[in-house]
Symmetry: C2
Subunit: 326 residues, 2 copies
Amino acid sequence: MLLDQRQLPVREVERACQRWEEVADAIRTLAVRGAPAIGVAAAFGVALAARQSRAATYEDLRSDVDVALKGLAETRPTAVNLFWALARMRRVALGQPDAPVERVRARLLAEARAILEEDVAANRSMGEHGASLVPDRARILTHCNAGALATAGYGTALGVVRAAHERGKVALVWVGETRPVMQGSRLTAWECMREGIPHRLIADVAAGSVMARGEVDLVVTGADRIAANGDTANKIGTYSLAVLARHHGVPFYVAAPLSTIDPSIATGAEIPIEERDGGEVRRVGGQQTAPDGSPVYNPAFDVTPASLITAIVTERGIFRPPYRFS
Amino acid sequence: MLLDQRQLPVREVERACQRWEEVADAIRTLAVRGAPAIGVAAAFGVALAARQSRAATYEDLRSDVDVALKGLAETRPTAVNLFWALARMRRVALGQPDAPVERVRARLLAEARAILEEDVAANRSMGEHGASLVPDRARILTHCNAGALATAGYGTALGVVRAAHERGKVALVWVGETRPVMQGSRLTAWECMREGIPHRLIADVAAGSVMARGEVDLVVTGADRIAANGDTANKIGTYSLAVLARHHGVPFYVAAPLSTIDPSIATGAEIPIEERDGGEVRRVGGQQTAPDGSPVYNPAFDVTPASLITAIVTERGIFRPPYRFS
């Protein structure tokens, strides 16, 4: 069961996925999004593939699961949690060639459940660590949605905010609306409303002005992939916020589980950046906002160099530069 | 006759104003916007007030015109061209206490026409000067709409782009969509399409990423008010672009007529910044993008300090720091 995030905040619609292809479609169309949530959803997609397979032999089941592993891997290129979760599922599938197919199916489902539970636990732990970085009466700026909706629950960047709020430290959360898909206004504002966290929505373009007024004590965002040197891919606009934070002497934090770190790549230059359809920029909902023929450049992510990141908060603690993940 | 800019790019609707109150409403609701265009429209509003007045004596006409001067001045607070144009119209009205009322009416209309014609001439001149700053094969980033629609014709920032394009110097214009009112996607992209200027639309949050890729040679924006020291109020988001430009070593230019300079104030800190309704951020067109109850901070402008401005292009030439306007 997925909450269809494209319909928030107007409607809360749950979407039941019976087949891995439906999960792949949900990821591709942003019904489920957020790096950790994509990883968890993909893991359940593999478990569904095993369930929907009519294979009676291990070989046939592996063949069906491989199709799903491949199909799910092709949904989105940037968030590494997707590939990390699929690799875990593949190891489980590969690891039991002598087991009866029913046991393989059960183990794949158990692994998906473990990935989900570990993600929630990691978020809680990140919240604990991250809250120690938050001063009293903090005004925190965040971007996109790295909350419960982007994870299996609680959140990464918004988990830090939530933990700090539980400790009474949060005066205000500035929520950048996050064009073009509006995850900030649609999702983060919605989560803040539900949690009773004081917040104020801004157009992304107002972030610099708010910092110049001295009304931001720290910035915290999630991440979609972190290179070995700490360079971080995250939602388009994160890099601009990091530059602005540096200009104003505001600390800039990234909160992400270790599953977001990709030690196989040295720097952010190697992270593939997804480009999405220009229609996301030419329209909002059904509303046309640009001439139909206007060419659009619509990267979904950008890379913030490690040099602009004050610290990276993970479930194992807080890392500071120089970052050397392995 | 005003082209109703709120309906672009979907519809081209002209709006006939017979009364100054209709002009004031058009300014307030952004049917006409852009600092120079607001000034020109307000001037014609005063001429309309004189025409619609049934006064037979100078005293009565002055009284009616004064009501319009006051009402038009209250429409929007930031762009100084409004107050500059109204001051010119007031001087004309004040200057002829012995003239027959018909002559006063005619002179007010003539003054409004002069303001319009001077604005077009100033734009052309700004374009000449500004084009000299543009290198060959330039990739130019602009924000909001400082084009023909924002002026009496041709444009300020987009006038510079247009003049450079006429000289064959423009490889690409990056058009920031300019949330929340989308003047970039709705108006600047529309103007670029009509003029055949190569352009690419981006969400505002992508500007940093495009600069980091080395794909921006200069930034040019318009202005709503320039203080004596060169601090410049312009559309929200301009300040962030100036910080990003500095970070990436990209020149940041402002193009504005002398009527945008307000030497009566020393620094940008004294410029009143209009805050607009939160509904502009919570919705796009009829489409809800945020929870209904979410609090919003929606400043329409920000102030870019003179220290971040490489040069200011006016109809009298190019000014460079330190700026000392008087």
